[in-house]
Symmetry: C2
Subunit: 150 residues, 2 copies
DNA sequence: CCTGAAAGTATAGGGCC
DNA sequence: GGCCCTATACTTTCAGG
């Protein structure tokens, strides 16, 4: 992992479909070393995959909600069950176990506030062990950046 | 935007470098309509770009911190200044203006706890108008999913 | 690391239902 | 309007130096 690798990753962050020629031009190498480096980064697990940045709004997900969740018990069992339950809820896009005043932070994507109310009532409130939750609706996204590599 | 478009997007979500042949096979179309649909989704702004999923750990960002920020004043001016300041801090990966008990939620990527302490002291605490902040370190990532499309 | 050749892919024309 | 097929230019992939 040298500076050239990081430059290549920076290019791929901004356009994962850039051709090897474009990447090579940007970092000052010919296509073959770029290709070899990328394969190494893929095999080494630095590159986990390639994905598309989608406009959630355009796809009908008008609202994003950040949910703080506090559990009753912190036994291994409760914790694991909670994780499994979240995995099965497609609206839950991200879920983190965190330190601090609450236990979990979720990022949830929903069509509208009614959809969110349904999710809370029918899904989150039904999960055993959840003491309480606090919802924060995202009013505006100020920043969404890539990891700083160079 | 029909079901085929959503299927194509689902394929791209899981692998943005899938060839048109693979995409076509997955959705039951030949390559040309897939290509046309993708171009339309790009031009229509549904597809905002293509990016790479990177292993933050492997790149030296061992810690992720979620920071709740509360501002003193809620004037347009303070709000805008705050947004601009955040834009210039590379460690701040995401920033949301939210409803609820606090004003902003930030996702911050740092090398270690010392790096985070430095960021707090030298950057966040220096921003005018910040009343207080609460940090939650991410202990474990339970889920990181794509938007549910089909 | 480079050059370069072979296999695979994106892009765009024309035709079909 | 949306599909399929086909030709050409570009890309990926991997040899040999």
């Amino acid at each position: 992992m040298d500076n050239l690798d990081r430059k290549i990753l920076a290019v791929l962050q901004s356009n994962a479909r850039a051709s090897l020629q474009e990447i090579g031009q940007a970092v000052g190498l010919s296509t073959s070393p770029c290709w070899e480096r990328i394969k190494k980064l893929e095999l080494g697990g630095v590159i986990e995959g390639y994905t598309v940045r989608l406009n959630a709004q355009a796809l009908g997900f008008a609202d994003t909600v950040m949910v703080q969740v506090t559990l009753d018990s912190h036994s291994d069992n409760t914790l694991e069950k909670f994780g499994e339950t979240l995995a099965a809820i497609p609206e839950v896009i991200e879920a983190y176990l965190v330190s601090g005043e609450y236990d979990y932070l979720l990022r949830v994507a929903v069509k509208d506030t009614r959809d969110y109310e349904r999710l809370l009532r029918e899904r989150l409130y039904k999960i055993k062990g959840v003491r309480h939750s606090k919802s924060s609706f995202v009013l505006r996204t100020l920043k969404k950046a890539d990891l700083p590599l160079v």
